[in-house]
């Protein structure tokens, strides 16, 4: 079982770089990340970016001076009118920090003092597939490593029995709206051992984890002992150290057969803890269940846990769809932050919440008292971060009165990536991998650490 250290020396040897590449580059504030990916593009206007003036402008045209000829998705490019749509949900300030949160997120509202809202996120991507690919890999086309892969490549694992990068996607009826691709947590040009391992809600959370019918654990032990013995003989004959590594991998597989079911078994989790994650927390496959698992993984040293929750794509029928989305995610996400904090783990765990872009202030489709929708909007959206290395209780950046353009402290996706890496003790310009003659980075040739939000 070797390792990243060897791998790094490989990378170093490849490039003959004499630079000090030992990682982390500096003392990290966070040891691990839990990233709650809200796929589809949650509306910042209903949830976080309070725009009271929209109430009086409701139904009037978006001023061209605001739109500035921005490119639109082909879905509204043919629309002739761009009527402004206010949020039909009320907003209030919460906590000591007085952060604005929409009424659909009552639980999030209770933990705002632990969160850092970035209202000035922006991206170039206007469609889901390139949008999520950009957020996940720093590039809009397939082929580059995901954030989690970069982290496991750079920092390795903190545990011996579980993968370094785990992915869980909520089940449910909305999943077909934003299909996911394995490459979203893929390792791109990094070796495939750095790809995210998907934990499923099926009986085998990890593919082929369970022994098959007819082979129990005792027999598997016996099997592995015999296999190791035969393989050791092979190593003696061939002299190849790769054989020893294979023996070690089989042993890790054997340990995972225990560590993974133990991880996903909530029976020893106190009822009051499970309850706080909401009514769905005992249902495998729900976002609530996954949030609880994410905390358990964090406790066990999984470096990067990523949750995907889909269905945030409210082109139409926002008033019926958005409350459902919020109901499924609000309480679990807030509980996760609270739970981590109470265990003293929020200090060194970075929690990230957000989607791949925001939504337009103008209405897509019919605008009535009970029905409206919003198209994709890349020019501003809101995310929140909490925990390791992040200043709690602040709101960073601002947008104009239409939540259309950023007026202060823009944070690009590359900046977010640079900041996440920074929290983990990594200089984003120095975590590189040479491929096709280039020293690739998660942040490509861009990215600035958002220092104002660091603790």
């Amino acid at each position: 079982m070797q390792s990243r250290r060897n791998f790094m020396s490989l990378a170093a040897a490849q490039s003959l770089l004499a630079a000090d590449n030992s990682l982390p580059h500096f003392a990290p504030k966070a040891k691990r990340v839990i990233y709650l990916f809200m796929y589809g593009g949650p509306s910042q206007i209903e949830l976080f970016d309070h725009k009271p003036r929209l109430a009086e402008l409701h139904g009037t045209e978006l001023p061209p001076s605001i739109r500035q000829g921005q490119r639109l998705t082909a879905m509204t490019a043919t629309q002739t009118k761009f009527p402004l749509a206010k949020s039909i949900y009320s907003f209030a300030r919460h906590g000591q920090s007085g952060a604005w949160v929409g009424e659909l997120l009552p639980h999030t509202a209770k933990v705002v003092d632990k969160l850092c809202f970035i209202r000035s996120m922006h991206t170039e991507q206007i469609n889901h597939d390139p949008g999520i690919t950009f957020l996940q890999t720093g590039f809009q086309l397939a082929g580059r490593p995901s954030i989690g892969s970069w982290l496991s490549y750079g920092l390795g694992s903190e545990n011996k029995d579980l993968p370094a990068y785990v992915v869980m996607a909520s089940a449910g009826s909305k999943i077909g709206d934003q299909p996911l691709a394995d490459r979203v947590w893929g390792s791109g040009f990094l070796p495939s051992s750095y790809q995210g391992v998907k934990f499923r809600s099926a009986s085998d959370p990890v593919l082929h984890l369970s022994n098959p019918a007819g082979i129990d654990r005792d027999m598997r032990r016996h099997f592995l002992d015999g296999l190791a013995e035969a393989n050791r003989d092979q190593q003696a004959v061939t002299g190849d150290p790769e054989v020893a590594s294979r023996i070690a991998q089989y042993e890790m597989a054997y340990r995972m057969q225990v560590s993974v079911p133990e991880l996903t078994d909530l029976s020893k989790e106190p009822a009051h803890v499970v309850d706080r994650y909401g009514p769905d927390a005992r249902k495998p496959g729900t976002f609530a269940f996954h949030c609880l698992l994410a905390r358990r993984m964090a406790e066990r040293g999984v470096r990067f846990v990523q949750l995907f929750h889909r269905g945030w794509d409210q082109h139409r029928t926002l008033p019926t769809a958005l409350p459902t989305q919020c109901a499924a995610t609000d309480q679990p996400a807030a509980a996760l932050v609270q739970d981590l904090a109470e265990r003293g783990m929020l200090e060194d765990t970075l929690v990230v919440w957000g989607g791949e872009f925001g939504r337009t202030v103008y209405c897509q489709g019919p605008l009535t008292a009970t029905e409206y929708g919003r198209d994709h909007h890349p020019r501003c959206f809101t995310m929140w971060l909490a925990g390791g290395g992040i200043r709690p209780g602040i709101t960073h950046g601002s947008t104009d009165e239409f939540s259309y353009n950023i007026t202060e402290d823009p944070v690009h996706v590359h900046d977010l990536h640079a900041t996440i890496l920074h929290c983990l003790g990594i200089d984003h310009t120095r975590l590189t991998f040479k491929f096709q003659g280039r020293h690739y980075r998660l942040t490509d040739v861009h990215g600035n650490v958002v220092r104002k939000i660091l603790s």
Binding site: A18, I126, S157, D182, S193, V197, P212, Y250, T317, D427
Partner: protein, 1011 residues
Amino acid sequence: MGGIGMVYSTLIAAALLLASAALAQPLQFNRDIRPIFSDRCVACHGPDAVNKGIRLRLDREDSAKADLGGGRRAIVPGKPEDSVVLQRLRTPNKALRMPPSHTGVVVSAAEIAALEQWIRDGAVWQKHWSFISPEKAAVPDGQNAIDFFVRQRLSKQGLTPSAPADRRTLIRRASLDLTGLPPAPEEVEAFVNDRSPKPYEMVLDRLLASPSYAERMAIRWLDASRYADTNGYQTDADRIMWRWRDWVIDALNRNMPFDRFAVEQIAGDLLPNATLSQQVATGFSRNHRGNSEGGIVPEEYLMEYAADRVETMSTVFLGLTVGCARCHNHKYDPITQKEYYQLFSYFNNIGEPGRYLKYGNSPPMVQAPTADQESKLRELRRSLKTAQEAFHTMEGSIAAAQTTWERTVSADAVWMSAEKLESELLPAPVAFDGKKIFEAGDHAQYGFQDRFSLAFRMKSASGNGVILHRMNSDESNPAGYGLHLENGKLQIQLAVRRLDDAILLETKKALAKDRWYHLAVTYDGSRYASGVKVYVDGEAWDLDVQLDALNQDFRRPGMLVFGGGGGWDNSFQGEIAAFRSYSRALGAADAAMLSTADSLGQVVRVPVAKRTPIQRQYLRQAFFELGADASVKLARARVAASAAGLEAFEQIIPTVMVMQERAQRPDTFLAIRGAYDKPGEAVQRMVPTALHALPAGASADRLGLAQWLVDRRNPLTARVAVNRFWQMAFGTGLVKTAEDFGSQGDWPSHPELLDWLAVDFMDNGWDMKRLWKTMLMSDTYRQSSTVTSELRERDPENRLLARGPRFRLPAEMVRDQALRVAGLLVEKQGGASVKPYQPAGLWSENGGGDYKPGTGEALYRRSIYTFWRRTSPPPFMATFDSALRESCTVREGRTNTPLQALHLMNDVQFLEAARALAQRSILEAGPDPASRLERAFQLVLARGPRANEAASMRSMLAYAQDRYGSQPKDAAALLSHGDSPRDTSIDPVEHAAWTTVASMILNLDAVVTKE
């Protein structure tokens, strides 16, 4: 699995080895100096310097040695002390020191020393090695060239080659390398006992002639060509490219010369009198992903597709990363941004849509019948011709009979064609007042792949309103089809979502108010706006296309409604009558016939000489349907049946996406910073000037480009190809960076050998099988792969080749080998991709439909035929480091993870293989356990077990016999995995116990490794 358990043999020692080798000899610019400049300096001081206002370039000798002002020169040959480059590398002044600290780039002291030495020695510059044409260095008579070059290098290092591998190891190695399958025990024994002079050569010849050869070789080409069975973006629905995949297998089996292999794939469509096969070959450039997501900007993706083609072509044939020049001049290699777009313009003129169809292939494409389908087609066409001829012979009597029949038609007779007529409604005009609607019931239900026609008469009072629709009005988003009038213009909608998943059309001209029209709207099931026609009083009207983006089926339950609803807010005022729907796309003549206001009785009475062509056709059709006798009807029915049979068969013939050249070529523009919406200067097709010129007379199209790629003067194509073959056999290319032969790529471990092989390849007609034989005949290949600890220390990666290759099998070989040794493998070649076992739910969890595993032989085909869904690749393949087919991949990955162990131990495919292997061993070896074990090992490893292995296996066997003896239920459970039947004559306890032993064998390191 991140970080954990990751094994990579450390390269440091290898790097030091190569470096020390370098220092022992005089320094060479290409090997020792260029990599330093390239990796540390040229990103700024290179082709892109001009954009940064930097004068000094270290990728060009003239600039590096030029006067930079005041007599200062970066490099002064022979005078390190005057060379500014050394001063700037060594200055203690941080502001002046290179490289600038903010870049994070560092040049080591050893590297600076090497630079100094090189300058002192005269600073001899060389053109980048891979841009210099390869030449064959002399090889002493009677020596194998590979061995000569390898040993030359070894002796410089004071190393000696390893002993030859034993015959058992060797035949397994060669069989895996040439066919992807292990040898059968009989083949092993024959080879081991062969005392003839050239037994090994005969084995190679046999393997090279095996049809399995092409399947083994093709899969790496599929990786490079990013072949897959789905489109790759959001919904990731199926496409059909397997006819191209079969073209590759066929070409490799026929040993098509590599230069032709290249030309047909890049430009087969442009060859004179291109055959279907040559057109199919161009699918190579259509294997890239295609985006069908709603709301994408088509121009953006048109650019991505062409860029992907350029990238794949240049990686596969040139080993150059030209994609770097998409946004700016290449930072390392001599390719300007303009030259990138000149290459790009060879690939962007095929008339494809920017938004691909969600389901199936997107144009351009061709129907590509298989050989069997071809003969069936010929047969169907022949029978159609026969039927038509038989009908034709009756023409004389038909004319006479029609004349006779016409006399019997009464003056008030009425008739309309009933062929494929599905519904007839509103026989008398129905008036609509803008309020009432008419719900006609479940009629005329059609979907996006159906051919259909709607015909009716209509008089509008307002010029606005819904004529008819079949929309699902329960949904807030109405889907279905509908016809609507707006300001007199007829609007046609075939929609799943009006925004982005629909065909929306409008007539250019308006219909007048208050007059009757006959309208016929036809659709040919093509999913394109061009498949919709509108006939007004029998005359085709021009249409404006408002949206041409239908992707999904608009068929909905519900009913046909006239006069209003369907998501529009204005209703019809006027009258509608004589509605008919047909499940065929009516032609112009049909529409004209339907529009004729005359009844049959009136038309018959028009004197023959005065009848219009439409009237003549109308009467002839009426006669066939009403008046013809049984023999005529039968002859017509035969023609119709033959035509229908042919048409139905044509529907199932697979298509394949191909390259085509549009006659009109729009200008290509350099895209500023690579952005599709920022066109710069117009560019013309041309190849990069740093390489050789186009061959004389080459056309300015892909054919000219293809000929340039395989031109004898091309310094790259042969080297790059040979290197990939070497990588397949030896695990690592002679140039380790198989994808990059540019300045940033690795220096070849054996430059003379690479060049010798490349020239030899070209000199011998680009013969791929011959190249394989050359490599495998060498003593270098035939060495034992066992390694001493000293050699491992000195050369962990085996770059010096003092031993034979030993590395884990590629994914497909691990699976194919298990199927083969178990006797389960179905060796059928070609055909649509198949779906072997896969844990339930993997596709649907991602949100993309259900994976339905195949049955029967689909479960046991070679892995090259496994259905490849890009967003959920076959889990076994992905876990075992297969290329993921998103984009061109030419290097093989190799990791070692616990997930692989879980697959091999617990995946049903391998449990079933273990059961079948156990069964074979029991049945073929008889009752003696030692013989059974011997047989199993022989099947899998071409050798018997060693004593220690046998002891482990016996211990497992005894344990399992004991357990299953006391728990027969567990034995039954273990034997239940997999669909294939088991031989029930074998005692279940015994079979189960041996299954665990067989499973252990399939998990052995030796088994998943090529030794």
